[in-house]
């Protein structure tokens, strides 16, 4: 039983923490969000230089052969800095699917470019009706000639508009909610028939709705087994959910630190408001949420790599459920304890609270994962 980070992991953590502290100011973030693409290419290039973009990929494909625990270390620090660049979309989710499902040639084609910061991915699986169910796919993938024709709508695709390649789920068989018959496709975002509408999300990121109208792809676009893509997608999304738990821990810790600072400096009735017991106890509950979330992020990272699907699902869902609940509670308390300042646009803590709340809405919220945990 060992929860400690290896020396390499500590070095990785410290390097990112230093980088975020010196380069990733709140002002720079705000500026990046206001650009047309919504994040900074310069920052992305620096992530590549730091080696962050290849962390979970095999060394043979330009990566660093890292584990989900290494990804956890990265995401905690990125969370602390409220980083808006498409790390989760490209490296964890997109890269994760390619790494798990791709043929060697597909990995060799995509992962080195991705690790170098020269290629972006997005996972386009959600649909307007699917909510958090990965198996709910109505997008059709009809065989034609040697390839497929895709038709359907993909909703709230994280960083969908900046992706070079979209990873799309399509039905090659079965009904809309069948587990069988789902196939993963690599779709060039510039393909004819791909209509991407970019928009902002409430927490400072970008997402897109993607319309697929008769998009032709070749047989080489199929990622993983035909009709049986779901288990691989689930695995990648579990890794993504574990990464989100880690990001949440970073956000919670940053938000708790900011709130504590405010409690110690804000004066009312002639004393720091942190002297009031009603507020102290709420701050303690925030700390308890942080500690429990940290434990669960570790558990999720370690178990997300498990080959035992039941064990993996159970741990990841327990973690995402608890962290989702904890994160939303911390966000609400932080806003309340900051008083009116907590709802202003200038305050970093307010943006931390928004991100923390919305983490629960990606890859399954607390209720979804509680149900998934209960039903196994």
């Amino acid at each position: 039983m060992d929860f400690s980070l290896s020396e390499e992991q500590q070095l990785l953590r410290d390097a990112i923490a230093r980088f975020v502290a010196s380069e990733y100011s709140f002002a720079a973030r705000t500026q990046a969000i206001a650009t047309p693409r919504g994040w900074s290419e310069r920052m992305w290039a620096q992530f590549a230089e730091l080696g962050l973009l290849g962390v979970p990929f095999p060394e043979a494909h330009g990566g660093f052969g890292g584990t989900a625990v290494d990804v956890m270390v990265v995401l905690q620090e990125l969370g602390r800095g409220m980083v808006v660049e498409p790390y989760l979309a490209t490296v964890v989710l997109g890269g994760g699917v390619v790494n798990l499902a791709g043929a060697a040639s597909q990995k060799q084609d995509i992962l080195p470019r991705l690790a170098a910061g020269k290629w972006l991915l997005a996972l386009a699986h959600g649909e307007p009706q699917s909510r958090y169910d990965l198996h709910d796919v109505s997008t059709t993938a009809r065989r034609e000639g040697g390839g497929y024709v895709l038709n359907g709508r993909k909703a709230v695709v994280l960083h969908g508009a900046t992706a070079d390649t979209l990873i799309v789920t399509g039905r090659t068989g079965g009904g809309q909610r069948d587990r069988q018959g789902i196939t993963l496709f690599l779709v060039d975002a510039k393909s004819r028939g791909v209509g991407v509408t970019d928009y902002r999300t409430i927490d400072g990121l970008r997402a897109a709705d993607v319309a697929l109208d008769g998009v032709h792809v070749g047989a080489g676009a199929v990622l993983g087994p035909v009709d049986a893509g779901l288990p691989l997608l689930e695995r990648a999304v579990d890794l993504g959910a574990a990464a989100l738990c880690a990001e949440a821990v970073g956000v919670i810790e940053a938000l708790n630190a900011a709130t504590l600072e405010y409690l110690k400096t804000r004066q009312q009735f002639g004393q720091p408001i942190g002297r009031f017991q009603a507020l102290q106890h709420r701050a303690v509950d925030m700390l308890i949420h942080a500690e429990q979330s940290k434990s669960m992020a570790c558990l999720a990272a370690v178990k997300a790599q498990s080959d035992d699907a039941a064990e993996r699902r159970r741990a990841v869902s327990a973690a995402k459920s608890l962290v989702g609940r904890a994160g939303r509670a911390v966000a609400k308390e932080a806003i309340q304890l900051h008083g009116g300042m907590g709802v202003t646009n200038e305050l970093p803590a307010a943006h931390l609270a928004k991100r923390l709340t919305m983490i629960d809405f990606w890859l399954g919220d607390s209720s979804f994962h509680t149900e998934r945990f209960a039903t196994g």
Partner: protein, 395 residues
Amino acid sequence: MDLTYTPEEQAFREAVRAFVRANLPRDIAEKVLGHRALVKDDWVRWQDLLARQGWLAGHWPKEHGGRGWTPVEHHLFDEECAAAGAPRLIPFGLNMVAPVIMQFGSPWQQEHYLSRIRENKDWWCQGYSEPGSGSDLASLKTRAERRGDRYVVNGQKTWTTLAQYADMIFCLVRTDATVKKQEGISFLLIDMHSPGVTVRPLILYDEEHEVNEVFFDDVEVPAENLVGEAGRGWTYAKFLLGYERTGITGVGASKRELQLLKEIASLQTKSGRPLAEDPVFRARLAQVEIDLIALETTLLRVLSARDKPGPEASILKIAGTEVQQALTELMMEALGPAAAPFSRRAIEEGGPAAPFAPAYAAPLAARYFGWRKVSIYGGSNEIQRNIIAQHVLGL
């Protein structure tokens, strides 16, 4: 990071499991798993068995006659015992006064008392709370006056758990009323059989005789029973409370209770189906189970990182007692109207509390009410939050 038990730890767990399976008396396990009331003999028999095996104080350092178990091994021991339906070990000697005596006691106290605790010869109880000193423990008034080689003790303790069985009590007493309240307190070990000690039952609303009032009228205590220095009792008391709180976490017992809750939910019905399949109930149960996983993971994170409890013990106390209370609440709710029938006889001797009710239902409402105490004792959960606010957050 490696969240698996080592082969040595797994072997340790197996050894504990085999011993418990072979030795835990069936009648005791049935009582514990059926949530029935225990009597002194139940605890004594089980603790004697462990003492003979050398495991009662297995987590003590070897220099004090323990086996030097790591905190993780101690947790595994606790978990295996709890899972099989062993009674919770009485912590007052084993886990509370013993660490204080090891750290601050005289060689004679270590030689005499530690061996008797290890061998289950003395039943200890805790003399902390007083009628006027609950959360504000340092305001305590029980006086100990030094007269030659003795102390003379006068005053009253309350909420004293199982004092009716106790041979010894460790007491916080005031030896100096002229200094700051924390600085006038001393830590005294008192023989419960001394003249002038009176124990009066305090029956709680589940009609259980678990706690007592203890009165001291001119009780003479040899000065050699003072632990450490006079006036340093508050320091020792706080040291001890860290151990008390870690112990209250109760992960092993909560894991057992969760299993029992699942069994009850599969036996009870709602809308013609097992309650366990009801989506609302299932979601609430899952939430408690998830909280318990988080608690266990946090406990293991703390245990694997250090060996002495710090302020994080307060976090574990809060989170642990919240899970325990949620479990007792769901267990009572699972019964529906069958929660209402009440019979002390059923709780003590087994059997149903009403003709058409199952026997397992009889103790569960009383248990729910009884379990409200866990967020009150050992320093109420609000006091724990004060401690964390002060010592961890610096507020």
